[in-house]
Each structure stands twice: as C-alpha cells, then as structure tokens.
C-alpha cells in the first residue's frame, strides 16, 4: 500500500549533480521531500490549489538548476478539502510513512493550525502561505512554522489606514459570523479608530451565506461611508455583487478585507472597480514579478495569486537554508531561514522573525476601472507600498510565547 501512495503521488524528482563540494549536505534518507497540502478542488482552489503545487515545483526546478544541490528533492501533493481532520491525518501519514520534511501552502486557518501542531511534534517544518489568521504566529505559534505571505492583520490594516486617510472615516462592518470573521473585523476596527475613523456598527451574517441584501440594507441605513467586508471567498463576492445591485456602491464604498486577484478575476472589473485592497504580491508590479508570473501563466493559464507566489518564495528560501545549513534537521534549517534575508521577486529584504512571521512589504492596490484595464489580468493600480514593519504586528505586541520580552 505504501508503494501505491508513492506511485500515485505527483513526484517531481530531480536528479542532482554529483557532489563535488567537500562539505556534502547530510540529508536524512538522501531526499528532501516537500508535501503541498492544500485545497485542490474547493472554495480556495483558485487562489492556491493546483497553482500552489505548480509554484512549488517551479521553485524546486529553479533551485536545482541554479544552486546545483547535492541532494534530491521531491514534491508530493494532496487535497485537504479544507478539513482540519483530513489535513492532520495526511500530514501525520506523510511524516510517518513518506518521510516528508516540510509541508507547503496550507490554505484555511483550521488546516494550518492542525498541521503545524503535528509537524512540530514530529520536528518537521510548515511553510504556510495560504492561511490567514494571526494566531498562527501569535497564541498558537511554534518554532517550526513560517507564515509567509499575509495575515488577517496585514491585509485589513493597510487597507483601513489608506481608506481612512482618503476620507472614509465612518465604517460599518459586514462580518462572517465565525472566529476568522471576528478577528478580521476586530483588527480592522482597531486600526480605523486609531487612524481617527469611527465604527458605526456591524452586522454578523451566517457562514456561509448566499443572500447579503438585508445585511447590506442595514449597512446602507447606518449611513457609513465605508462598508468593510470581514468575510472571504464566495461570501465576499456575493456581498460585492449585491451591493452594486442595490445601488449601495458607488454611493458608499466597499473595502474588501481579504481579497485575492482570483476573486477580482471572477467578479470582473465592472463589479469591483475602485475597491481598495491590500496584497502581498502583484504580478504586474515590476519586471521581476512580470517575468516570473509569465512563466507561471504559461503553465497554469492564470496569473499567480499572492499565495502561489508566496509558495514559490518560501520553498526556495527553505531549500537554500538546507544547503547553507548542510542538513535538513528542522531546528538548524529554521535558524538558517531566520538568519538569511529573503531576496527574490516576491520580497525584498524580507525577514523571518522568531515568531515565524515572514515580514515583507505589502502593497495597497486599487482595482482599475474596466476602461483602464489594457490587457488580460491588468487589474490593479498599486497606490502605496506598505513597509513590512508597519504592515505586520510588531514583535512587541506579539502574543507568541517564543518572543522573549
């Protein structure tokens, strides 16, 4: 049966050049194995899913071509279906029977939390790019987890600050009624008040919802200038669509607190034009991002989301750390990853903090009007670069026990 798993696993095994360097890397069983565990078919498969796997494979190929490591690298993947139990089970199985060294992506917080605990117990590394919630690097943090791309602090904070500065002082929240929605709302509301804005009220909608019109009417009745959407995925998309239908936008403006380029792509510019959002990566930002994204596009026929780009960056950084450390032992690799700044198309001078947070610059984007979009996937104006230290929770405020105060 083990053979069956091996056979069906998508393997990108790459042979390496003979080890010429004197200090050969001591890698357990000679192979560094990466497991991409993500939503391959569900709500989040567009923003991570098969694209996350492809990005990870690209990172491995590029690393082998460029760094010529003296160890083999393999990539396998599985669909966690957004279920914490499936993720924990799969991760445990991968560690026990497949000798997987690190797990990549992990979209949705519940799966990420489940896996990072198993990984820590087994002394393996979690490279989280897909999941959003801040507890990953706060209350629940551990020393074998890296949270790469974004979180529920960085996204709303950038957006809220910018929107308040533009004059959107009065806010009303439409919040998905579960832990994730609440934390998104709270983080945003704090920033709004701190920046001199005011929160007029909120409404909690069942998750998942399909009809948001009555919540939107409540938001309309509040007279707020800005309606903050503290939800994700289909809920956000439906809210945006229906806000337009009820003539709420453009009189009041919407702020998507957790939105990806794949959401904008699905909704179309007609419905999203003018919205502010924060992103960790935009494919059309500079020549470097364009070059990489075009390679990605050739393979996936879609432009990468920040999550997928983050998967590449995290994987590459991890492999580099193994080479530098000369071992794949989790603690040593983590130490190297923290010591080395991240410099690639995704991040400039990014750093992995003690709590596992990879701090890098974020971008405040505004969605283009249909008339401004010149070519496919030309969706954002980048309005502002938010320095990493402002974008993420400062270490001083971190609730992570690893942070010594």
């Amino acid at each position: 049966m083990k053979r069956k798993i091996l056979g069906s696993a998508i393997a990108a095994a790459v042979a390496m050049a003979p080890a010429l360097s004197p200090a050969a890397t001591t890698v357990s069983d000679g192979i560094v194995k990466l497991g991409v565990l993500t939503d391959m078919s569900g709500t989040y498969s567009d923003l991570s899913g098969p694209g996350a796997l492809e990005a990870t494979k690209m990172a491995v190929e590029d690393f082998v071509a460029k760094e010529k490591p003296d160890f083999k690298i393999e990539v396998i993947s599985a669909d966690h279906q957004n279920k914490a139990d499936i993720s924990a089970n799969k991760a445990r199985e991968w560690f026990d029977t497949q000798k997987v060294d690190a797990i990549v992506d992990l979209v949705t917080t519940s799966t990420a939390l489940a896996v990072m605990k198993v990984a820590n117990e087994k002394s393996r590394i979690s490279l989280i790019s897909g999941a959003a919630s801040t507890p990953i690097t706060n209350e629940q943090c551990n020393d074998t987890t890296v949270h790469w791309t974004y979180d529920t602090y960085a996204l709303p904070v950038g957006t809220a600050k910018a929107v308040v500065k533009q004059g959107g002082k009065n806010w009303y929240f439409i919040t998905a009624d579960y832990a994730f929605g609440h934390s998104l709302e709270k983080n945003t509301a704090d920033v709004v008040t701190k920046s001199g804005g005011k929160v007029l009220g909120n409404v909690r909608h069942p998750f998942p919802g399909s009809d948001f019109s009555s919540f939107l009417l409540s938001a309309q009745a509040s007279g707020a200038q800005v309606i903050g959407l503290a939800n994700a995925g289909n809920d956000t998309m439906n809210s945006i669509k229906q806000a337009k239908e009820f003539g709420i936008t453009p009189k009041q403006s919407l702020a998507g607190l957790l939105m990806f380029i794949s959401d904008v792509h699905s909704l179309g510019l007609e419905a999203t034009a003018g919205m502010y959002l924060t992103t960790g990566f935009y494919w059309d930002y500079n020549d470097e991002t364009r070059a990489w994204s075009k390679r990605f596009f050739e393979r996936m026929k879609r432009m990468p989301t920040m999550v997928q780009a983050g998967d590449y960056s995290a994987t590459y950084h991890y492999l580099k750390a193994i080479k530098a450390a000369g071992t794949d032992e989790a603690k040593a690799v983590m130490a190297k990853m923290r010591d080395t700044p991240v410099n690639d198309f995704f991040a400039k001078n990014g750093k992995v903090r003690i709590d596992g947070r990879m701090v890098h610059d974020m971008y405040l984007a505004q969605v283009k009007k249909p008339s401004e979009s010149k070519y496919p996937w030309d969706y954002y104006h980048i309005r502002q670069v938010i320095p990493g230290d402002e974008a993420y929770i400062p270490l001083a405020e971190s609730k992570c026990p690893l942070v010594k105060k």
């Binding site: 917080t109 605990k117 832990a179 994730f180």
Partner: protein, 309 residues
C-alpha cells in the same frame, strides 16, 4: 460454529494484525467509522429508520470529549463517557421529535435537526467555530497507559470498537432486537401485538446515537481535534453510503463499507474533486443494482452455492 463466530474471529485477527501491515492511524480511523456505521445500521438496517442527521451525534460527542479532556483537563475515559452520554441525550431529543413521523419525513426531520446542531457548533465559543478544537491531548488512560504512543492508542481504539460492536450485536440478537425487526417488517402488526412501538423506536434511536457518539469521541482522541466536518450533513450522507455499500441489515456490512469508503478517501485524496463524483457514482450503483451491499451479496453467493457455513 456459525458464520457469526467465523466473522468475529476474522475481525479479531484482522484487528490484531492490521496495524503492523497498514498505517495504524488509518486503521484507527476505519475503526471509528466502522463503529459509527454499525450504530447507524442498528437504526436503518434493523429498525427501518433512515436518519439523515447522524453526523450531529458523531460531531457533538467529539466536541464534548474534546472539551472534557482539553477544557476541563479530565482523563480520556471520562472524555469518552461525556461524549457518549451527551450524544445519547441529544439522541433522545432528536428521537422524540422525529419518531412522530415515518419514512421520508423522518429522514428530513433528522436532517434539519442536525443542521441546527451544525449552526450551534459554529456559534458556540468553546467549539472554536471554523478552526475547530485543535491539539486535544490524548492523555493517560486510567492515569496509567500513555495514549500518545500510537500502538497503545491503537489497541485502546480496537477495544472501544469491539465493545461497541458487541453491544450492537447483543442488541440485535436480544428480544429487543426482535421487536425492532418486527417494527421494520410490519409496524401495524407490531402495534397490534401490543408493543409500544414508539418507545422501542426511541430506545433504538438513543442507543444508536450513543454509540455514534462513542465513535465520535474516540475519533477526537485519535486525531486530537474536533471539527465542523463531523457535524456537517455530508458526514450524515457518508455514513449512509458506508452502510449501504457494506450491506444494510447485515452485522458485518457496515464495517466492510466503512473500510472501503475511508480507504477510498485516503488513497483517493490525489484525485481531488473526482472523489465526490466517485462517491456519487457508488451511491447510484448501490441503489440501482447492488442493494444488498458487499456482505449481503457475498452471503447470497455462499447460500446459492450450497455451502453451509
């Protein structure tokens, strides 16, 4: 020695050998679901009641067990007890409402009630909502045996499973079970014979719910987490599939069905969305052409070939 004895011996041997051949955590998962499906079969197979809300018992027992062990810091056996009792109480509430109607109405009522439980699980603060309960400690059984060791845990799960399965088998063979079968076959007749049919149905429902709860609580200890997956209505559908595929109304059928379905989900994870389609296809094929299920068909084959077991 009859077929049932042979079945028991095979089951025991398989249970003892399996963890050395297959990944033990997977076997534990199979055992939990097998118990769940057997509990469900007590209702569908022997009483003729199709509950489409059994996930509510599996899931809420998981949460209760998790809360007892993690929140209150009590021992794992108390966690199992809390889960089982909680599920039984919930089963009493569901049952009292649902047995007023039969057939399809019964199915839909249980489905809708389970959906209510799902929303409550999403809202209650102690369940952790979408994130679920994570990192629940397995603890020490009776304060002695360390369950964080995989093999210790395995044999504990096996013991729980055999215990639950034994209760179900006893119930089926007892006079109580005979009355249930009578209700399944001809309810008016059972009434005219003077049986308080509603009380029997309710009792069967509560027993089924309690054992489903035992399965759910055990599952929580195995995976050290409780999540919304186990209260979602998809789970209620899955247990129907397991029972149907293995053989409705056969003693060992649900175990076979659970093994097939869990293995399919485990090894088919790479197939992604095709697993859903495949599950649907199995459902359709079972209903159209394979209503006896694996065990039912095998039993028929044996009977036809004239071999007396």
């Amino acid at each position: 020695m009859n077929g049932k004895h042979i079945g028991w011996i095979v089951l025991l041997l398989l249970g003892l050998v399996a963890p050395f051949l297959v990944y033990p955590v997977l076997v534990m998962k199979i055992l939990c679901f097998a118990l769940f499906a057997c509990a469900f079969n007590l209702l569908l197979g022997y009483t003729g009641l199709l509950s489409f809300g059994h996930a509510a018992f599996l899931g809420s027992a998981g949460y209760l067990c998790g809360y007892t062990v993690q929140g209150l810091g009590l021992s794992p056996e108390l966690g199992l007890l809390a889960g089982t009792v909680g599920a039984a109480a919930l089963g009493f509430m569901f049952g009292s409402l649902a047995i007023r109607r039969a057939g399809i109405y019964f199915a839909m009522i249980t489905l809708a009630l389970a959906q209510l439980v799902y929303f409550l699980a999403l809202q209650f603060p102690f369940t952790g909502g979408e994130d679920g309960m994570q990192g629940i400690p397995r603890g020490h059984l009776f304060g002695l045996i360390d369950l964080s060791d995989t093999m210790n845990m395995y044999f504990f799960v096996l013991a729980v499973f055999l215990f639950g399965f034994w209760i179900i088998e006893r119930a089926i063979d007892s006079p109580f079970g005979q009355v249930l079968k009578a209700i399944r076959e001809n309810e008016p007749r059972a009434i005219s014979l003077g049986y308080d049919v509603d009380r029997y149905k309710l009792l069967a429902f509560v027993l089924s719910a309690a054992l489903a709860g035992l399965a759910g609580a055990t599952k929580t200890l195995v995976f050290q987490l409780a999540s919304l997956t186990d209260v979602h209505w998809h789970m209620s559908g899955e247990v129907v599939l397991m029972t149907l595929l293995g053989g409705v109304g056969t003693v060992f059928g649900p175990i076979v069905g659970a093994t097939i379905v869990v293995s399919l989900q485990n090894y088919g994870a790479e197939l992604g969305q095709w697993v859903t389609v495949l599950t649907g296809v199995i459902f359709v094929v079972c209903v159209l052409a394979f209503r006896r299920g694996v065990v039912g068909e095998v039993a028929l084959l044996i009977k036809r070939s004239g071999i007396r077991p």
